[in-house]
Amino acid sequence: MATEVALLELGVAEPARPGPVTEPSPGSAMRVRKRNGSLEPVDVNKIVRAVARCCDGLSAVDSLRVATRTISGLYDGATTRELDELSIQAAAALIAEEPQYSQLAARLLGTYIDKEVEGQAIHAFSQSIAAGHRTGLISDATLELVAGNARKLDDAVEPERSRSLEYFGLRTVYDRYLLRHPETRKPIETPQYFFMRVACGLAQRCAEAVDFYRLISSLAYLPSSPTLFNAGTRHSQLSSCYLLDSPADDLGSIYDRYKEVAQLSQFAGGIGLAYHRVRSRGSLIRGTNGQSNGIVPFLKTLDSSVAAVNQGGRRKGAACVYLEPWHADVEEFLELRDNTGDEARRTHNLNLANWIPDLFMRRVEAGEGWSLFDPKDVPQLPDLWGEDFERAYDAAEARGLARRQLPARDLYARMMRSLCQTGNGWMNFKDSANRRCNQTAQAGNVVHLSNLCTEIIEVSRDQETAVCNLGSLNLSAFVGPGGLDEAELRSTVGMAVTFLDRVVDINFYPTAGAERSNLRWRPVGLGLMGLQDAFFKLRLPFDSEPARQLSRRVQELIYFEALSASCRLAEELGRHPSFAETRAAQGVLQPDLWEGVELSPDLDWPGLRARIAEHGLRNSLLVAIAPTATIASIAGCYECIEPQVSNTFKRETLSGEFLQVNRYLVEELRRLDLWSDEARSELKRSEGSVQQLAGLPEDVRALFRTAWEIPQRSLIEMAAERAPFVDQSQSLNLFMANPSIGKASSMYLYAWKQGLKSTYYLRSRPATRIMPTTVGTAPAAASEGAAQVACSLENPETCEACQ
């Protein structure tokens, strides 16, 4: 309503210093400042026309509304640049009402970016690369490839492909991925130049670059962020994760690790770091005859160090520390993320993960005791797993080496509390990780930890930092009304593996240990995102039997094709140097490491095994399901293998907040003639749940459940069903609106029993909500209901009403 008034009056308040209250004065016309500095009256029609030019094919958008909203945010003397920005925001603000505005906002932003790029005399892809090279951003090799094929590459760029980007995707690309001029900070590439730059950075030949460009610009597959950031540049650090074994138990080694961590995070890598070799608190230090303060002060230093490293201004460094639960400092470790207590013993930037042997879980289940050790007394434990570990652990107990003992359940409860309170302290299972890893066939090759996002399972040792480069398929792109296009998916996997493997050779390794390990094992991690989109498109409730079958089938196809591609590459280029040390060399593949797996008869597994026996594999590991937070927003799909968190949610990023609406739901409601102001308010009131939405058929309700409404048991089971086709692991988030120790402990015990190698965050919700600002609020008298809500079976101890 307010906007209509604005259009008619077009007035604005005089810029007022503190003084008497002035009403907006309707007479004064508003002016904008043009690029040459002159002032010009605002012309509504001009704005409407500019917006309308971007509206073709968008039947549900109203360019007049965007224009009036734009004007209502203006002040007298605003610049034309501000005007452009306002029009983008005005369109974006309407997405919650009508998802088509997302495309309109994206087109407006696209036009804005084009102007910025053209303003620097860059009119073609090859010019963008030349400008990047002049300013010291683009590598010589990329310049050479592009300069030698300028016309072909320039012609291959398809600007209209940017139209498939949603607003959030394009905004993310603009804010963080486009290369910018070092001084002016203006982007020197358009979104399509950006995709082509990435393709050229990975390709050896022009034709290959064009193929790869077509793939990633179609959004059916995207490489991970470090590759998107750095491909084609002088710092081609393209890997996502690094896994470092624990520093040895001496000061020199501990400080060397800080430096390594800093070097590795500088160019956008995430760090996993074990710490179970460092002695615990109270341990004797012979050199000084003093006592150690344990691992906490060292982790505090790591915390500051990680925060200090800024990844090119694009994101902060991030690390996760792994500890085995027999370490005598484990309880203090679990408190590192608490928000109370001594700040000197808190690390707000570090993520924390437990690296749990089966023995611990068995003792938890049996209600037995658990011993904590100083690593100085049991230096062999970090390098043992399975029965070897259990023998050594029992022996250490028998010799009375334990520093302390406690009921295993007490420690387990502490772990659960940490998960419930902070979401952190991830549960990862050492024995399953080692038992089902292709790299651990030989004694001495041990997986000591997972990575920052718990999807990478690779061996590491002191001088051998595990590395992984990642990319993810967007399943949504392979699902049409007719179902899954298996042929297309399979051929895409082949191409994706080829380029992931390429990264191993052209990657810039910040440390020697990382290079050594990566060239030996050549591991890659092909992941998956948009699983939820696929289910929506096919109208399958997330935990329904057909959905579970599809999820398993997709994963089998991916693993099968990834192995095939890697075998093909081995035939062409040679097997990876440590192939002989792998389980695959003994004929054992991932599904063979799980019980009762039935392979699909239509896939030629026996033929594949025979080829692997003959040619080997180019890569020791192939599949890892990463969280895909940012690349999923570029692709415009739901993250990873996750169910949707809400039918409407905001995404907080470094570039501000964005609202996302479930467009599949909007379509559905529109079909049912239920998409109204009322429905939108109800959706907000219920925090994105459709369960209370009036008039919705049961099957629709089931389809659009959120992660909070789907049994977590089924998420764990689905993860276990796809696990035989994931040779690394999965970033599996679990969701519990109101977590309790009891619920969490039941859930994680089940996850362990299902054989999962790793789990990720425990997501929970705030205890209380902000009083809604924009949903009509009922008077407080009606909130007697609030007391009744509190009296639920879920939370009986809170409720006083019945006592």
């Binding site: 307010a2 002040y75 501000e82 659960m416 940012t630 905001k650 995404r651 907080e652 205890a767 509190a790």
Partner: protein, 332 residues
């Protein structure tokens, strides 16, 4: 009854379990200032803010410098004395603690944002020196002072007087002044600016909306117990009070936006204030006065669950104080 004079000590049987639930829920939302990372804000302040935006933020933090202290004072001088149920006082004790954390947050914020000691000192005296802030403070002082002679809520008029004090702080100070302040913060965040301030504000906002909810719950309880207190005259006084608050806040907006800020016009701010004021009136069971719609889409976002990833800002949704024991057969 809730407003009977005295210092009731009896928790069992509990008369108002809803206040006890609010107390317990509030504990789950415990946060500390140390969790807020302001380092990125410094870069924004130096390099990314326009001079108009810098003026806005300077004025805004000057308001924050004293806002929560004023609310704390009223809590002690008025609310705690007269809301006579131990479980309700339990909540107020918790609220007082939260106001303390907010004060610490804004203190840290000003220390970080304003490195120059003289400028910093000036910001802390804004309540005396900056007219647009002075006016809002005067509004608060007047309502706190209105209770200084009322030691016992002996008569209906005393209780009305107290309700006006409660509503002025819950509905106007927390419910309008603070909601306006949050809008500026979220506006800047919608442009990707001052994320540290915004993440701390997320928590402050969550706390403040609980304080407000508590205040309205007290009003609703009293209304059930003594409906006759809520007569026409009372409504008229509430309306006048909200109008005055809105005027003061609008004048503050004129000051903040005096240099012209694209995306936040004075006109939209007025609509927003009217919209929020209507919400408060409805919270009190009254008719909306203005019928204005919310013009700020970025405030829509505050009602929507967040989905952050750890590469970016810290997730502010986690609960503290988790109950229960290890068990293996619960459903999940």
């Amino acid at each position: 009854m809730l407003l009977d004079p005295g210092m009731d000590l009896n928790l069992r049987p509990m008369r108002y379990p809803v206040f006890y639930d609010m107390f317990r829920n509030a504990i789950k939302n415990t946060w500390t200032v140390e969790e807020v990372d302001l380092s990125g804000d410094i870069v924004d302040l130096e390099n990314r803010l326009s001079s108009a935006e810098r003026h806005l933020i300077n004025r805004l933090v000057a308001f924050f410098a004293t806002g929560d202290t004023i609310v704390s004072n009223n809590l002690v001088l008025s609310l705690y004395q007269h809301v006579n149920a131990p479980e309700a006082r339990l909540y107020l004790a918790r609220q007082l603690y939260e106001e303390g954390v907010h004060i610490q947050f804004y203190l840290t914020l000003l220390d970080t944002y304003i490195p120059d000691h003289e400028e910093r000192a000036a910001a802390f005296t804004a309540v005396e020196n900056i007219p647009s802030i002075r006016q809002k403070a005067d509004f608060c002082f007047r309502w706190t002072d209105s209770m200084s002679d009322v030691r016992r809520l002996g008569s209906r008029d005393d209780r009305r007087q107290f309700l006006m004090n409660l509503i002025s702080f819950g509905g106007a100070v927390e419910g309008l002044f603070f909601y306006a302040a949050f809008a500026y913060v979220y506006f800047l965040r919608s442009k990707g600016l001052l994320n540290g301030l915004a993440s701390g504000t997320n928590w402050v906002f969550r706390d403040e909306s609980c304080h407000m909810r508590f205040a309205f719950e007290v009003v609703a309880t009293v209304r059930r117990e003594e409906p006759e207190l809520f007569d026409r005259d009372m409504e008229r006084r509430v309306l006048e009070m909200m109008e005055e608050a809105l005027g003061a806040e609008y004048r503050f907006a004129e000051d903040l936006l005096s240099e012209g800020v694209a995306g936040m016009s004075l006109r939209d701010m007025r609509s927003y204030l009217e919209y929020v004021a209507d919400q408060r009136l409805q919270n009190l069971g009254m008719e909306p006065r203005y019928g204005t719609k919310n013009p700020f889409p970025f405030m829509d976002l505050q009602d929507v669950p967040e989905l952050s990833n750890f590469f970016e800002r810290r997730v502010s949704a986690y609960q503290t104080a988790v109950a229960g024991e290890v068990s293996f057969d619960e459903s999940f």
